[in-house]
Symmetry: C2
Subunit: 445 residues, 2 copies
């Protein structure tokens, strides 16, 4: 164990550069923590000349990231390029083929190809580690795979996308519209120029697919994750939620139902303001694990950012240097059961198809304000055996149509399918002026 | 790695029995998680005949726990007896001397003897693991030692004692007196018949000493932890805190100051109601780690209880079965720097001697309601250069003395020493009828 651990870093973006800086500037710390020196021997980056504020003297710059996979002097490749395919995939594959350990922050890669890559690594006796791939700096992967290894996991719940949580918490606290806050988030660097990966829930779905695999011993099954993003949430929805003592957040949930079937969903949901998750503001992430015998444990922290993500990558580096190993998914990849469907490319957000569990629902309708409308609506609800908890007609002006008013319904616990059928029927009413908007209401841990 | 891991369990109290039950009833799970079978070969318990609701067929019962240390067929001893000395100490020492790994939940043992025991284990190439010793089921130790290994830790803050947190949160929400809530907590099993270990802050101090050692690379230094318990907190204090938008909780804090000196304290503190820690209710624990480059991460969960504590013990078992090892304090015990003072027996709560950091303070006085009193008090504050933020005379009736009224002062940020000196001077005033009560006000992360 006294041998130096030789590291190659592919990608010197904000995370890669921070990892390099930490390993160089705090080299003594890493030697002390690991019992051996950790040395960067080579890096690849688009721009070798870019000023990064610290010295990389003695480190080879390779123009071609793939060259890192085959260097004789490298023990581990840190893949910090990103993307499910292309260079990142080729590099990880090449490194494993050449007998190099791999540490990656790449959730898309693992959600799509993690099962095969993990099998490859395990057959070759190599480590493939990915703490940084889910929830940035929050060490959810080690917690789930190692700290909770003695538990039967029943449920994982999380705020997994900082961009969405930032947008929704600003909408909540500053009473602003989605498009307005998104534009500001883009200006501030909290959202990408093309924000769809985040706001359509795809990024969160990648992370949930990875957590689901680790928690339930199944191969990652990305297209078994029902996904709904946050594009259609309005300021009025947020205010109506507040009237009900709630806020709206994008939540990921995966659980094992009574039948043993696993359901995974990313969706906006009404959270009671007094619940712990409703208090996670800004770009923070939070993940709760429920299981037996532990009960439940929740961890909150920075889900993104150079420093936080670097912290997670560095934890994997120290683990490797110390000889601590766990399989990528906690148990041998060849023992993983197939998920609910085969892993395919999630090119577009899948329509939500929530599982059969009973939940309360919030329904927003836009109706002509005339006698008999409520009677028609409640008759439809009765026809679908849906019990109403509240009906409100908030006095806020509806945009556009003259004489139109909003109606906010909340239901008692009911199957999502019944709500979908009832609202489809409501949409056919002449007095209903727009597609009904539906959100589930959080049912608690 | 295909060899069976043979386990001995010393102590079949609530935690030990739950660990045994999990390993027996979920044996397949542990084999799958660990890649090898985990088998209980022997246990020791006061009562071999006690009905535990599951079968321990094939497991040897030893009347003498110490016999477990020298059995040839045991790989690891789980010490779940407790106590800093006596059988627990002799057993751990004996097991390590005989070349057996040790997993323990014993915070008192480690706070007092952890440094020496860790050195012994490390010299012999053995694992001494203790996830369950701090914060029960919350995996704070692995998080600190492994997940945050790439960070320079600057501060650890935590609600570390579930009994105190239960009492204080019931006082807060049900407007009740300390003694009343304590008696109820004893009846419900949340507090011991002799509650001093918990309510005087000693248990929390043990845990903080262990976390401080892991976070800052120092030997555990229990009597360097300034400790104040919660006995003197009244219903009126809680209500005055609420008037200030705060609650009161017992908080542990350890940090590295600008000078590099480490200060550690357990003390009741006023927490703003909107802060995350103020929302930790009941017997939950919460721990926040701050450092670079991560920023901060917080974990919340059950700090006690059979299931939660068993979860932590079982994580150590799986780590050992998988060959994952980290030194007890994260780095080799022989490399630990000495703490602020030598480790001695903490037989009584040490008077608080907070470090020099500036903090806001809450001061409760009981005074005769007559002209000139406030002038005397504010003159004393001015004499100590203490800037007042607020003065209130809540109209609540003071118990006992006729004509007595409470005065609640809050200060701007000031050295604790100045507050101590000023309040000592106030206590000398004829019109001040009782010892002033002082709480710091949380200064945020």
């Amino acid at each position: 164990m006294s041998k130096v651990l030789n590291v190659a870093i592919a990608g010197l973006g904000t995370v890669g550069a921070e990892v390099a800086r930490q390993l160089i500037e705090n080299a003594d710390h890493f030697t002390h923590q690991s019992g051996r020196a950790v040395r960067i021997v080579a890096v690849s980056a688009r721009d070798a000349e870019k000023a990064r504020g610290f010295s990389m003297a003695g480190v080879d710059f390779c123009a071609d990231a793939l060259a890192l996979a085959s260097r004789e002097d490298v023990d581990v490749v840190l893949e910090l390029i990103g993307g499910e395919a292309g260079v990142a995939y080729d590099l990880v594959l090449g490194a494993l083929k050449n007998g190099r350990h791999v540490i990656t922050a790449n959730k898309a890669l693992l959600a799509h190809h993690g099962h095969a890559l993990a099998q490859m690594a395990e057959e070759a006796g190599l480590t493939l580690a990915a703490e940084a791939s889910v929830a940035g700096g929050i060490p959810v992967i080690k917690m789930l795979k190692e700290s909770l290894a003695g538990n039967q996991i029943t449920r994982i719940t999380g705020i997994l996308n900082g961009t969405c949580n930032y947008i929704l918490s600003v909408m909540q606290h500053e009473h602003r519209e989605f498009a307005d806050v998104l534009a500001e988030a883009q200006k501030l660097g909290y959202a990408e120029a093309d924000p769809s990966f985040d706001i359509d829930g795809i990024d969160a779905a990648h992370k949930l697919a990875i957590l689901a695999a680790m928690g339930f011993g199944t191969a990652p099954a990305l297209d078994a994750v029902a996904v709904r993003g946050i594009r259609d949430i309005t300021r009025m929805d947020m205010e109506n939620a507040r009237d009900l003592g709630c806020t709206i957040r994008l939540l990921g949930e995966v659980e094992r139902g009574d039948s043993g079937a696993i359901s995974a969903e990313i969706r906006p949901i009404l959270l009671p303001l007094e619940s712990g998750l409703a208090k996670i503001d800004g770009a923070l992430n939070a993940v709760s694990f429920a299981g037996a015998p532990i009960g439940a444990v929740t961890v909150v922290g920075p889900g993104a950012g150079a420093g936080a993500t670097a912290s997670a990558v560095l934890a994997d580096v120290v683990d490797l240097a110390m000889g601590r190993h766990s399989p990528l998914f906690g148990v041998p990849a060849k023992s993983l059961k197939q998920g609910n469907s085969k892993t395919t490319n999630l090119s577009a957000p899948t329509p939500a198809h929530p599982p059969g569990r009973m939940e309360k629902h919030f329904i927003r309708l836009k109706v002509y304000d005339r006698p008999g409308v409520l009677a028609d609506i409640t008759a439809i609800l009765r026809g679908h055996d849906i019990s109403v908890e509240s009906i409100n007609q908030p006095s806020r002006a509806e945009d556009g149509v003259n004489g139109a008013v909003p109606v906010i319904l909340t239901t008692h616990e009911v199957k999502p399918k019944a709500v979908a059928a009832a609202t489809a029927e409501m949409a056919e009413l002449e007095a209903v002026l727009a597609e009904p908007v539906i959100f589930p209401i959080y049912h608690g841990a």
